[in-house]
Amino acid sequence: MTTIQTPRETAATPVFDIEQIRSDFPILNLQFNAKPLVYLDNAASSQMPQQVIDRLVSYQTTQHANINRAVHSLSEIATNEFEAARRKLQHFIHAREDREVIFTSGTTDSINLVMHGYGRKFIGRGDEIILTTLEHHANIVPWQMLAEEKGATIRVVAINDAGELLLDDYEQLFNKHTKFVSITHVSNALGTVNPIKQMIAFAHARGVPVLIDGAQSAPHMPVDVQDLDCDFYAFSGHKLCGPTGIGILYGKAALLESMQPFKGGGDMILSVTFEKTTYNTIPHKFEAGTPPIAAAIGLGAAVDYLSTIGMSAIHDYELSLLDYASAQIARLPGVRIIGTAEHKAAVLSFVVDGIHPHDIGTLLNEDAIAVRTGHHCAQPVMQRFKLPATTRASFAFYNSMAEVDALVAGIRNVQKVFL
């Protein structure tokens, strides 16, 4: 067990030097059509700084072996680095213990782990699970599968026209059948930041555990799972300047211990005979098979990198980008921002009169501007706004104000084509 340390970001407040930060990301030097890449699809996946790339290379060139197995030195080194990465993630989200951090393949895998490990054991016929309209499909479909298997029911919290959850509606959904709440911290389609601390407290007062989908929050703001008091918190490495194929499930130790394993295999056992298998302790109980060791260590390096800048500084800078972009885009005739919550992360969804988002995306790409178009794996949100799709610009701390200007100019160019 490792106790929590003071995060580095509170020790010093470094100056937010955007040019210095941009120089850490080699991919930002790319050009398409002889124009510099303007990468505004960070909610889908973020880019990787040289520091993380270097760490992956140094691991593969000097430290790689399988972990938790052999007596040889290389295996011990790899095991130590892997566990050090786990502790970095622990500190990043302020978890009480490192064994509360389980490496998964990503947010989707984490949610499925809870569905199988907790849901299939503790949720049964007639029970109810509360989700919200803002959920990504990854936080809808696993629960639907569970509901179908067990005869449970999904209840959904409605949103208002700004894309904010209706808290009265949330509270009224609770009854004696409510067994689980699974909600997103930040909407991937609209950017809404949900009041999860308040929602968690309400659920806990009724004895209901809460999973937070942190895929869109962990990369953009300080997260303290002890302060939030959430029971589970899931996020992905590749949206956090880390590699693909790695993510985290945080769970309170007592809950994780009460759960059944999700996947069976090596590493998750203490002993195996054909008569009986004894499961390993957490977190290993949930880490069957050889994990993505390099990716986990890379994610540890990403967390180091972000902590050096400071998640509070990242959050503040991204909000200044969002404010600037929102003001510029709201000023464009025929453009409407979808998702105008009071509390938002740096996600800007919009529609343009008479122009389908797919056409906007293709033409912005001509200006080397990368945005996402479509339903953003959040079809209930689109249905709520009666839209088939939106165009979404999602920002990271390495985006510049000049890139916001490029986006605005790009949208004007698209409108000219369709005049």
């Binding site: 059509n33 122009i355 389908h356 988002p357 797919h358 056409d359 293709t362 033409l363 790409n365 001509e366 178009t373 479509g374 339903h375 689109m382 839209l387 088939p388 799709a389 084509v417 369709f418």
Partner: protein, 161 residues
């Protein structure tokens, strides 16, 4: 890489703005709906076959400019044609969209050649093909199709839909 601006040329923008044969036929002998769940494009094609001939055809729905213009130009191209002629054109259009048609060889593409650039925009091929795919389904009395369940057709190997 193709220049998308070249694709968004006047004729396509014009058909997007003022789609021909837009709406539903009051009485139709054949009808099908096509859906691309990835972008929400939704096209309905209805037509009247008199004997072998496509007497009348109309489409409606909500879609991007590429899909809408493709649907509009498709209705113009197949109206008055026989079913075998229309099916030949469907083959040729899908082959062109997937870069498999020799534009210097024999074909009936005509003005539809404005869509040839779509072959260089892989993520947009489905947009251009959806109306044709839907027409094929209507001719074969299939009520609805999705770009995500008939991959073979998207690859340009439309057979017995």
């Amino acid at each position: 890489m193709a220049n998308p601006r070249a694709l968004y040329q006047e004729v396509i923008l014009d058909h997007n703005k003022k789609p021909r044969n837009f709406g539903a036929l009051e009485h139709s002998s054949h009808h099908a709906a096509g859906h691309n769940p990835l972008c929400g494009d939704h096209i309905e094609v209805s037509l009247n076959l008199r004997g072998e001939s496509i007497d009348d055809i109309a489409f409606q729905g909500a879609a991007c400019a590429i899909c809408k213009a493709s649907a509009s130009m498709m209705t113009v191209a197949v109206k008055g044609k026989t079913q075998p002629e229309a099916e030949q054109l469907i083959h040729e259009f899908i082959d062109m969209s997937t870069g498999k048609l020799d534009l210097n060889g024999d074909h009936h593409i005509g003005r539809l050649v404005v869509f040839s650039g779509i072959a260089d925009l892989p993520v947009r091929i489905k947009c251009a093909i959806l109306p044709w795919h839907t027409l094929q389904a209507a001719l074969n009395a299939v009520e609805s199709i999705s770009t995500e369940t008939e991959q073979d057709s998207i690859q340009g190997t439309i057979g017995n839909a």
